[in-house]
Amino acid sequence: MEETKNMTAERSLEIITQQIAQSRHAVSKVTGQSLFISGICTMCMAVVIAIINFILINHAIVGLGHLLWLVLPIVIWLFSRKYNKERAHAPVDIVGSLVAKTWSTFAWFVIGFFVIALIWGFVAARVLPIESWAATQIKVTPVIVLLMGMAITITGHILKQRWLVIFGTAAGLICFIWEHFGMGQTIVLMLSGEPHLSLSAHAATTMLPCLTIFVFALVGLMLPGLMLKRQK
């Protein structure tokens, strides 16, 4: 592009439109790539944790694999550094910035809540009798899926995608009820027809939170990421 002073009004308008569109496209691509990488990492982590939990439950250790969720932000950061090189020079626009802030707020709340729940579980196990401990245990998954549903809904509003808004709200609330009231366990119990969960049924229920997060990451992170990356 060279210095031209005798521009027509039409040419001026063309330059403005072209540059704004080009810039939006570049920014959308970078934001999309970040969402896509986060989605893939979360889905892979859900699978890994489900496998670890399945193996551990055979050794009578329940849900220890969930501690690996704390490593997820580092995994996402490492993969973003490796596969999102365009981000190095790309600017930040209001849409990209809002989406990034929504998900970083979600991440901080989840990490904070997870750590609080862990500390409380550790302290309560030492202080309270076993019956009270079970009753006062903080359920992590329902709150995480509720927060994730909120983050997806806000992302949908920012990107002006109604399907994301509907999915985020509906899935967030339904999965919260499902996880909070242990509906998965109830259904497994009803199907097995036994008063207590067998080892394999218990293994299945400990893997349900991973399945929920897998689906949320697929629809809330990976699909919007792919959509932004392919936006013309």
Binding site: M1, E3, R11, S12, I16, A26, V92, D93
Partner: protein, 96 residues
């Protein structure tokens, strides 16, 4: 009577730079160069002109060990850009 178009903005490259910065919070020099397809020397001169007029602010910093130039639009620049668009509208007959 047509209003006068801001001579500082009525240049292809400077207008392209301003249009890029309007839609972003800030942009690095290599990104602007890539998007406008301008030469580094020419772009540098035009950025200096916009900066001298107070339309953009230029921050020279380091990214690791590499020097990095970041440009962002100022409120003065935004106002000038809006005025330019308003003036353009009258030329294109789409304004009041």
């Amino acid at each position: 009577m047509f209003p006068t178009l801001d001579p500082l903005l009525h240049s292809e490259l400077r207008l392209a730079v301003m249009s890029l910065l309007v839609s972003t919070e800030e942009a690095e020099f290599p990104y602007i160069k890539e998007q406008t397809e301008a030469t580094a020397g020419n772009l540098s001169v035009q950025i200096d002109k916009l900066s001298a007029a107070g339309y953009i602010e230029v921050e020279k910093t380091f990214k690791g060990k590499k020097p990095c130039t970041i440009c962002r639009i100022t409120p003065t620049g935004l106002k000038a850009f809006e005025d330019y668009i308003q003036a353009l509208k009258t030329y294109l007959n789409i304004g009041k």
